[in-house]
Symmetry: C2
Subunit: 311 residues, 2 copies
């Protein structure tokens, strides 16, 4: 037993060493993406043996542990950039152990994976009701992902342990469950999804005044369940739809207001409160509106819009 464990350990160490060696022999080929705001860098690498790999590097968040901050202060080496009265700007060099990169290294890789990680430029699309009918609806019908995983959740054939709350009503009910992006524990990143029981509502485009009862129900009961279970109050949660959504069965995102979630910006997200307000003012609001969102170059829907707008 001991012997096997040792061999296992040796094999693991060798794997780590060989990855280290692969990386050191690899040459920089191309920047696939960079985000100066979130401090990340995606790099394509090529190895003399002919293989390729991708390094996804992220600066790590600062530790908020007292002892780590004290170590940081003690080892900080200042390089002054400018100073004015009580304000000074500095580059600071700190102990590299306090400043690790959180990274993924993927190798060997193929062209499909390279395309997946290549950062493509986004463009604005203004979708009139007519363009929804002639471009987006055919896109959804042709390319939308299979919704079996959603039905499995709703019928509790899977992800039962993720369920936070359920209202089983056929007309206005829904299942509230932890999103896969959330660990279910860290309150700062709380992320739950309310998925309606009713089938056939694809997105906000399909909503009319007739759906207001369901929307009130989803909002009020979800916020109450989140308060009961996690202690966050109504005014500490943001709730919104994505447009376009990633899957076409109506669902609402409920997220800790503190969490800077991906795709929570204008042109990606529409507040549940705004949808309710707009349908109260005009039951046909989403049948008559131009909706504005962004898509990446190379995306199928983007291509279909470009084709349609060319004519």
């Amino acid at each position: 037993m001991k012997r096997i464990a040792d061999e296992e350990l040796v094999r693991e160490e060798r794997a780590e060493e060989s990855t280290q060696k692969w990386l050191q022999d690899a040459k920089f080929q191309e920047i696939l993406g960079a985000d100066s705001s979130h401090k990340s860098l995606f790099v394509l690498l090529s190895h003399p043996d002919g293989s390729q790999g991708i390094l996804l590097a992220n600066k790590s968040p600062f530790s908020e542990e007292k002892s780590d901050i004290e170590k940081l202060l003690a080892t900080a080496q200042l390089q002054e950039i400018s100073r004015n009265d009580i304000f000074g700007s500095y580059n600071i060099e700190i102990d590299p152990k306090l400043n690790l990169l959180k990274s993924q290294l993927i190798y060997p890789i193929n062209d499909r994976l390279i395309a997946k990680y290549r950062q493509e430029e986004k463009f604005v699309i203004r979708e009139t009701p007519e363009l929804y009918e002639t471009v987006t609806r055919p896109y959804i019908e042709k390319y939308q992902l299979n919704l079996n995983w959603v039905y499995n959740c709703l019928e509790k054939r899977s992800e039962v342990d993720k369920i936070v709350f359920e209202d089983p009503d056929n007309e206005n009910g829904f299942v509230l469950l932890q999103d896969i992006k959330w660990d279910g524990k860290t309150l700062e990143n709380l992320y739950v999804l309310a998925i309606c029981h009713r089938h056939g509502l694809k997105s906000v485009r399909d909503l009319t005044g007739d759906d207001l009862e369901m929307l009130y129900n989803m909002r009020d009961k979800s916020l109450e369940a989140i308060n009961q279970k996690y202690g966050l109050k109504t005014d500490q949660i943001k709730c919104y739809f994505h447009y376009q959504p990633s899957f076409y069965h109506l669902h609402v995102h409920f997220i800790n207001l503190k969490y800077d979630a991906p795709a929570s910006t204008t042109m990606s997200a529409i507040l549940l409160d705004d949808v309710i307000n707009n349908l109260e003012l005009n039951p046909e609001h989403y049948k008559k509106s131009t909706l504005t969102f962004t898509r990446k170059n190379g995306d199928k829907l983007m291509e279909m819009f470009r084709e349609a707008l060319k004519n």
Copy 2:
């Protein structure tokens, strides 16, 4: 001359040394704010001499220079966290010179400055038309900042060098100028403001169907001017209002879609295209709507809403 330059240099070096010494003697007192998404940390420090200071530390974006990336790859020390097939997760230790913190150190400081840098929790406010009249309007009338700097821009008594375009029409005209947050050069962060010539429009709340001509004019001519001057096309720009705005004279933000600008999220920003769409559907939309936004604890408007909702 040489002598004076030397003395200057010595004095500067001493100032840098004394700051270094101040920081090393200072003790960690409190985390004022932390942002794990943008990787920043604001720390309050107390010094044995009785003074206090604030360190604003930010992880730096990755350099996109080929030579820096090559150095990073050459010095990277991998620590494996997990591995599955071609995918591996690692902590990476790199040369600290490639991984500086961009920082400000402010000392000595007073309580007012500490309050300014303390990260206060945000809360959601749902402003009905009635609450706008009874809470927000009185707040604006009592506390809004003096708008002289805006009038100085509009009448070209200041910031003339920042003007990108002007339509001088009294009714529908506007001035388009570089925002102070933009250096006027880096296209990735392009940020310009369109400020309407007409006085008295405080925010989207004041807009009705009668203002559509002005909004079309501001949108179309601003996008055209940005295209002419900076080469960015209509579908590479996001344009929005802030609600609440930071000053109450109507203005629209035009920003490179690539730039993750502060306050571009839902509950802070309302797309110009959405405002136009909503006013086309209902000329009284913003007179009748509940608008949802966030404010920080300790903020005056927040206090006034809390007071009003208590009754």
